[in-house]
Chain length 348, copies 4
């Protein structure tokens, strides 16, 4: 049993971590904190949980735990992670603080970075691409929902050097905006649909571009196409009137001659044996991944335009957040990667 | 490991059983059948499941299993249950076929009963009231969502003889109507709310009345009030624009002098130690029980009218259907009653 | 053309008034105010409106208008109504300030009443019961959604002296809680259902009781049953995951011998010729009244219990708020009562 | 008063036509037909309408009307339109039968065309582009929701010859699939999101391409860029869990040097004076167009990629169907184009 704690248990990510970790046979959940709820019972904040345990002060959680999940707002993790590491704890950070080079982070997040030295050590926690690095990591930067979907959707094309550009449309349920996200009142979201942060301004863009560049740079796959200039992606997120779920629809501009068979072959090979990536012969739908840690993918060659469409569906709070964090924990602890993580969804 | 099979895996109840049983450590799921899907892979019918197993013919499932779940339409279970019992299988029936005395069944369901002799043997599978009987049962009649909510909401008052009458309003998500339920197209259900089968015509009414009468007859609780005439309940179901969840709001006409403290005392005592009944100090909400096997209850004394309000929330596909069936299975097998059954919900 | 102004145009009621009044052939909308938005264009607050007009200061609107709608929070109307009346304006107040006797108001709303003398003059603006009084009124107290539904549902039984008591369940879409109502974030309301202010604490209860008592006291209908003691209603509101619409389900305890034919006869006679009350032979559903000023009613005799069920559906922002206010305006101005008010709904 | 009839009043388009035409001051609605409902009262099929009129046989409607709306399935209009024209009626057809050259129609719809000779006469009823032709038309082919959105979104760029290609993502509410559309059960659509007919197979694609080619060919705008090869668009529709509303998100590949100011200038000039096109300075959202005949547009220059994003929102049953048909009717009759058509939406 490993002693695990959670800092920031007042948000959806924290609550989902509690739910998953309470069902984890190798984890002892030794505490969870929230400035807002400290001293209150868990049920007061989270009516779905049946547990009289109290929100603890942050220091107590840090002290008791061997591994700490940081489910904190951007800008806070960079202050707390060094303290935890200094005390010999291992850290899985769910914020954006260690996902990008500090100078890129500062440019896109508008927050001065207080622990730039840790970026080098931090391992980018997308297990499908960085499984080995995660195993030994002290500090894991756990990627978010849009980026996980976009990276997994396009990684095979990037790996072989075929990805020239892409127009990505992200469609997200409202829980992605957090528990009391701005502009998420029911009466204004229901029966409504809208883009937001359009025009190349969403801060997940540099992370997607970096991930796909790194796949190519890893050189693990035979590069079948010429060297790539820097990749520039267009990404437009939309808010959809539902609670959970992300669908990413990508149109990729590709180099070389493609057809449906070759495309499917590449994806099958790339994701062979992955415990949480399912390649469909039909189009994905978010509901099929509800409450599971799975990603459903479908690449489609569009002959009329010569472009490749890729669809990815996942649950933004599980594979796009807390589930992925537990997947990283399992790797860090040398446990089976899928321990305590559902591969199947809730329907309807 | 016990070999378990499911007949009728094309409906939501069947799918939910598959999901729960696949995660059950003492169960080997040896087959599932559906006339509609026989020979097809599970995923073709259920995109949330990641499993290449094929729907099997009914006979095969019956043959392989030691315990059989019947998730069949009313009228079919009464044909198949005797066959299964004759082969030495134990049966959990999710239909209405064995929940009521045959003559009452025929009057309310309009279906001639083909196995009336089995009614006597069938155990009514509401564990909170009939736990001991279920343990030894060969045939369990698993109650449905509205009846489970109504019975658990009013059982304490009934047990002490205080329940004189009740006006019950049931509010149900759409999944209660089945996978392709009549009148459940999205565009006509969304942003809509309607009563149905009003005026004392819903066939769950006699089951509720019988259950509450039986609680009194059991005599396990000190009767604090005089003998009761036959109980007559008013029950009005409504369709609500959501997928899962039932809320039951009951106004009980009560005998004797009540106040909030005495009321809460009765419920606390009655449900003490129950693994799946939670008494709230706040009002229940369906979302808190989402995907869990829990019932949330709240009795409230209304001083202005001298009536008692009781609110009950549950997930109609779990505690109101498949979860309760697994709870009964656990009892039948002498396993911990809560094995493989979530007590906590999914939020948001 | 009558010059009309709106104070409090930042809420849903105000916006709905603007929409209805812009389509009114006898109204010139001379201004609308909002403390929050003053000086900003209408479109900045209300993206559905295509109108560059600016939110004006309150005094300007008051000065320009002959008739003023007050769509203000409880407690504010009682300050502004006397000013407007003193300037010779006529007033339709959408708040609760003039709906109840000041001492009752203070007890239920917890707000000291600053214009108790105006209560006597204020006309209760439910046209179906007080049409003639509204025509000559200077100050109309426009009733809200639950009360309109409950009163119209039970008025016929009350009028003949047959109503002994009632258990009322109100089911409301989220817009009833206002634009940024507490506890109305999408992710927590969607796929959720909950009662609130249960136990006889909702402040619409005394208004319902008073209305039904007044119907009896009016003595316009032959009293077929004996004198009534003070009526006590039980009312339990619920929040339903939809935006617009109210369904009221009432179980009435009645005196005398009733059957379905007699019941329908009473309702048909009582509401004969009403432009906005439709009696259905089927059960009502909220969607059928969407964006209309109609109420759909259905009384149902429940033989098993001897009780009467009545169902009422309406759009809480139209007949339950802004539409009813315009209906009152039409009466005050001697115009056709249904001018510029839709009798038919939007579907789907 | 013009005598107008509707064939095919059992679908959402027909019902919306009835609602709009009943409020039209220059129209006498002389009949509506539906094979399914003939002889039944309107309310039996459409609970939102309060009207005892009966569904009439098709021949009766045809005989009484001067102008006929055909809200029929694809393949039926081509049989009935010639009959109506022969009798001297004018026709607005809401199906796809006269929108494409017969050979293209046959290739994409898989239906042999029975009235190919009428295609030449039919006027494509998108008023913003073909206002003058519609005025004199006997037969108008009324475009659908996706095509209206896509065409209006990209027409300005096409008109000046700058549009080289485009990746279009369509997001639609469920009512676009019709009253009992396949795969639109609430429990499977709610909390779900999915693409459909992806990969260049949706039959609105050739219509979009043809429309944009025609804008260029009209030559009404100064062509600022070189001659275009045939335009090939990628279009991927998605089903979103809401009832009404379409959002089109387009990434346009453009020729020439663009920036935000030049882009907005072009759109402002192109749509100057249009009664139903609103250019926003913010991003569109579908709810703002709910129940209105308006299209909200926003072009956005994306500097990082050099592409142009255009967002369009409309109500698929109004501007995308019945409202546009009434707009065409107004033009055909020489009436104000916006008569009886709401420019403003319903919120919330």
């Amino acid at each position: 049993m490993v002693r695990v704690g959670i800092l920031g248990a007042s948000g959806y990510g924290g609550a989902e971590l509690i739910r998953l970790l309470k069902g984890h046979p190798e984890v002892e959940l030794v505490g969870f904190s929230s400035r807002k709820h400290v001293g209150k019972p868990l049920e007061a904040a989270w009516p779905q949980l049946w547990d009289g345990a109290l929100f603890a002060p942050q220091e107590e959680v840090l002290e008791r735990a061997e591994v700490v999940f940081l489910a904190l707002p951007n800008g806070l993790s960079m202050e707390i992670a060094p303290l935890a590491l200094r005390e010999g704890k291992r850290v899985v950070d769910l914020s954006g603080d260690f996902r990008l080079p500090p100078e890129v982070y500062e440019a896109w997040y508008g927050i001065p970075h207080k622990s730039p030295e840790l970026y080098e050590e931090a391992v980018y926690g997308l297990p499908e691409l960085h499984r080995e690095e995660v195993r030994g990591a002290r500090l894991v930067a756990n990627p978010g929902c849009y980026v996980t979907a976009a990276t997994l959707a396009l990684a095979p094309l990037a790996a072989v050097g075929a990805l020239k550009g892409g127009f990505l449309v992200g469609l997200s349920g409202v829980s992605g905006a957090g528990r009391e996200g701005e502009g998420t009142f029911f009466a204004e979201v229901n029966e409504n649909l809208k883009p937001y942060r359009a025009g190349g301004t969403h801060r997940h863009i540099p992370e997607m571009e970096a991930n796909l560049g790194r796949v190519l740079a890893q050189g693990r796959w035979p590069r079948t196409h010429g060297p790539r200039a820097e990749l520039r992606l267009s990404f437009t997120p939309h808010l959809v009137p539902m609670t959970r779920g992300i669908l990413l629809t990508a149109e990729a501009e590709v180099e070389g001659h493609w057809d449906q068979a070759r495309l499917e072959g590449l994806y099958l090979e790339f994701y062979q044996g992955e415990p949480f990536v399912r390649l469909l012969s039909d189009l994905p739908q978010t509901k099929a991944t509800y409450a599971s840690n799975r990603v459903d993918l479908r690449p489609l060659y569009e002959a009329r335009t010569g472009r490749v469409l890729v669809f990815a569906a996942l649950d933004n709070l599980v594979k796009g957040m807390a589930g992925q964090a537990v997947q990283n924990l399992n790797l860090m602890l040398g446990l089976p990667e899928d321990l305590a993580l559902p591969k199947e969804g809730l329907w309807p």
